[in-house]
Symmetry: C2
Subunit: 292 residues, 2 copies
């Protein structure tokens, strides 16, 4: 049942649907499951996949499952809930969770699967929908090296930079830190744009100067335009960013480390969410400054 040429894929949202499609293109037999079944059927028809009725069925048919859902409660549900993947996995099975969740949650899930002889990797990704689509995600995996080696062909079919970053939970923690830095950098950019608008500066010049120098960042490249246009079509939802920053703050607190800027950024994103902007792109953090 643990055929490495077969893989179950649980969760076919914006990211998951594109990642599963790349696995099919790379020649893997993909068995998909999604809470809304119609989505799974549409994707399966397009890419020659099989649809499973439950996570347990997808797992039983493949022996290796990837989860790409919203947060740890959803991962727990599809793995350990009724008809969850754990029911379909036997000794030697492997779960690769690519959702961004807290490291403590990753470690807890690994511990609950271990008695069944089922392995676990926390392997979250960076890169939004376009990079999911063209298989150029960055993938950071935490867990025992032997599981990483087994997962590697699957991960290589979805990502460009694929790293084994350390033991269980370290993939999740690196992902949270990356997103938290992105959240702070984006909010700092929003502040600068607000001040520049107030001073009636030429924003093209500001962006060119920052891009050529010490103010440069990936957030500048990706978010300056939507922030200037106040156009918040979601590539990555503000509420998801807020969730990641909060997970990161909680982990850091448990480690006894203070993150003063991340804390301040969390307040700004929380304000934006409370203002009803949680489903917009996180570039909408600039709207909080508009309201100050």
């Amino acid at each position: 049942m643990n055929n490495p040429e077969r893989v179950g894929f649980l969760g076919l949202g914006i990211m998951g649907s594109r990642m599963a499609a790349n696995l099919a293109r790379a020649g893997f037999e993909v068995v998909v499951w999604n809470r809304t079944r119609a989505r799974a059927e549409e994707l399966a028809e397009k890419h020659g996949m099989t649809v499973a009725g439950t996570p347990a069925d997808a797992a039983a048919a493949t022996g290796t499952v990837i989860t790409m859902v919203v947060d740890s409660p959803q991962v727990e549900e599809v793995l350990l809930g009724p008809r969850g993947a754990a029911e379909g996995l036997s000794v030697g099975g492997l779960v690769i969770d690519m959702t961004t969740i807290a490291p403590t949650a990753s470690r807890r899930l690994a511990e609950r699967l271990r008695p069944n002889g089922v392995g676990f990797l926390d392997a979250p990704v960076t890169g939004s929908a376009p990079r999911a689509a063209d298989a150029t995600l960055t993938i950071m995996a935490g867990g025992p090296p032997e599981y990483f080696e087994r997962a590697r062909p699957l991960l290589d079919a979805m990502g460009r930079l694929v790293l084994h970053v350390g033991p269980q939970g370290h993939g999740s923690m690196i992902k949270l830190l990356n997103n938290t830095v992105a959240a702070v950098n984006a909010a700092a950019l929003a502040e600068a744009l607000k001040a520049a608008e107030g001073a009636e500066l030429d924003l093209d010049s500001l962006v060119a100067v920052m891009g050529a120098g010490s103010g440069g960042s990936t957030m500048l490249e990706l978010k300056a335009a939507p922030m200037r246009e106040r156009s918040f079509e979601p590539l990555f939802k503000l509420d998801h960013m807020l969730k990641d920053v909060r997970h990161c703050l909680a982990e850091a607190r448990a480690l006894g480390v203070e993150l003063p800027l991340a804390k301040r950024a969390e307040e700004l994103y929380a304000k934006a969410s409370a203002d009803g902007r949680g489903d917009e792109d996180f570039a909408a953090v600039i709207a909080v400054l508009d309201g100050l």
Copy 2:
């Protein structure tokens, strides 16, 4: 007296000495002045420049002077103090201030020179010593376009991206915003590194993931290594960064714009300065987190 092939250069610190050398290399006759005269003489001998005894003498010999000192009080002193450059400039003279100062200070200096028929550009730079040395600075000039056109051959000899960004003070404001974003991004990076150290993550993996994705920034490229090594040899002094962030906050306040993250970053850099780290590189902001 306003020979565009001659230029006075006032202030030969880490940046100024390299910029003046590039003007000499480009074929300009450079007349240098520095508060510590020995420095001027050493540089002049090396690059075939002339040393002036006072800013007024440098100005009288050239008609066009560049100032590259510490902050607005020093610019004011070398321009308008006793034997300052203004005494040596007549109608048609031009001052190009490349110091990072507040926009309000830039506008005030321009207004004080105007009655004498002397022009003024605020033309600060980004890029530290290595980019000053190889003439690849970014230069953002604010002021009347005719002054920018006159200054352009000089600026082109020192920079790669040379922009006329708008009216008086806009060069200064763009510079302050760039540095403030850099200050926030650097402090956010410091936080992430501290948390990663606390979690015993593989820092090479963290830096690789951030560099490939949404956490990427110029600060990551330049400051991750010195922060990890706690090696704070100054490329840009923490107290200078703190000064720029404070100027930026004051300008924004005057415009009625709040900069919550910049304010929090200012507190961190101020703490580092109070701890005696003002003369170290601003990467030393991580030492504040070490002490929390």
